[in-house]
């Protein structure tokens, strides 16, 4: 992997993370809207549109995170292959720095939303427009969806701050297997 390839890959992975967080937020939104007084037709339509939107976002985030080689080559162009190859440790370090920054920026909003939902479950009428308390509040779809979303966001943010080791390992493994295949292919050709 050359330096332009690495930069392109990092940018694509960062966009992938953003899209995935967006997917979580869109996918949980219909459940949050359930307790509102909108007409039934509006809610069903909103469910269908949100479902389609979340599928598109999920597919896009998976492409950006796991199948971004084609996009990466398209961005950097053929000239990037002539650049000198970089050490694998730089790849690990760059990915970890990018993930750490993404995690740190995400953790702020996660803590904000956790502080919004946790007191509601224990105290009741802190959440605007809700008079539910205790068990009722716990089982309300709005709170369940909102609370679940903030917990998932928090787990992802912490995983990113830890440097997403499994993702980096998978990415390196893919890169090395590809490079060794290329070398053996050239060897056979010669």
């Amino acid at each position: 992997m050359t330096r332009p390839h690495l930069i392109a890959k990092l940018i694509l992975a960062a966009i992938g993370i953003r899209l995935f967080m967006w997917f979580i937020s869109i996918a949980s939104s219909p459940f949050i809207r359930l307790e509102t007084r909108y007409p039934h037709e509006f809610l069903s339509m909103s469910f269908i549109i949100t479902f389609a939107e979340s599928l598109v976002l999920l597919a896009a985030s998976m492409i950006f995170l796991f199948r971004s080689d084609g996009l990466m080559r398209m961005i950097v162009g053929p000239d990037a292959d002539r650049c000198p190859k970089i050490d694998v440790c730089w790849v690990i370090a760059s990915f970890r720095i990018m993930f750490c920054l993404s995690g740190l920026l995400m953790i702020y909003s996660c803590i904000m939303s956790l502080f919004y939902y946790i007191p509601t479950i224990f105290k009741g009428p802190i959440l605007p427009y809700t008079t539910l308390q205790g068990q009722e509040a716990l089982l309300s779809p709005k709170l369940l969806a909102g609370g679940f979303k903030s917990i998932v966001d928090c787990v992802i943010a912490i995983y990113l701050i830890f440097g997403a080791p499994h993702y980096i390992r998978w990415q390196l493994r893919k890169m090395l297997v590809k490079e060794s295949n290329q070398i053996s292919g050239v060897g056979k050709h010669e």
Partner: protein, 183 residues
């Protein structure tokens, strides 16, 4: 990567954070100006909106002054003077410190106006029997936590940076061991 290059990168990142703060402040203030004539109908004291807007302006002006005018001295502090034999270790710790300082400045920018306005709200409404009085309590706790985190990160988060560098180097050495089995 030599010290000059690291210095330039650190300055670019810090000025980038400063520009983000300016844009974010404009985006926060402009919609609020539109509702200023209706402030007295909102049930809150009329001066409240001016206090919140004032806090935003002061905090963002201080952040921008700090990041634009003192960028040289901050970047010098981020890069540090310690002589590390391994260039990669030095580069890694500078990169992690830089993202910690940037995240810390943003945490402070987000939490300080929120904390000050929560404290004002609490002081104004504490003697009134509104359900509204309930809001500031979790807000204040949350903002204090974010403020503490912001201060820690803005000062370079030394423990966090050491831990990240250690983990990264460990992952690199582990990878070198696994490399043969993967290929």
């Amino acid at each position: 990567m030599n010290k000059n290059e690291l210095n330039v990168i650190a300055r670019i990142v810090l000025v980038g954070v400063g520009l983000y703060v300016v844009i974010q402040t404009f985006l926060t203030i402009l919609p609020s100006i539109a509702v200023l004539p209706f402030a007295k109908d909102s049930g809150q004291p009329g001066y409240m909106i001016f206090i919140i807007l004032g806090i935003y302006v002061i905090i963002s002006a201080a952040t921008v002054y700090f990041l634009f005018r003192c960028a040289n001295s901050i970047s010098a502090k981020i890069i540090g003077n310690e002589q590390v034999d391994d260039a990669q270790v030095s580069w890694l710790s500078v990169a992690f410190r830089l993202i910690c300082v940037s995240a810390g400045v943003l945490f402070l920018y987000w939490s300080v106006p929120s904390l000050v306005s929560s404290v004002f709200m609490y002081m104004i409404y504490k003697n009134q029997q509104y359900a509204y009085v309930m809001y500031p309590r979790p807000d204040i706790a949350r903002d204090i936590i974010m403020l503490a985190l912001g201060i820690y990160f803005a000062f370079g988060a030394p423990g966090f940076v050491r831990w990240q560098v250690k983990r990264t180097l460990k992952q690199c050495s582990k990878f070198e061991e696994q490399k043969a089995s993967w290929c």
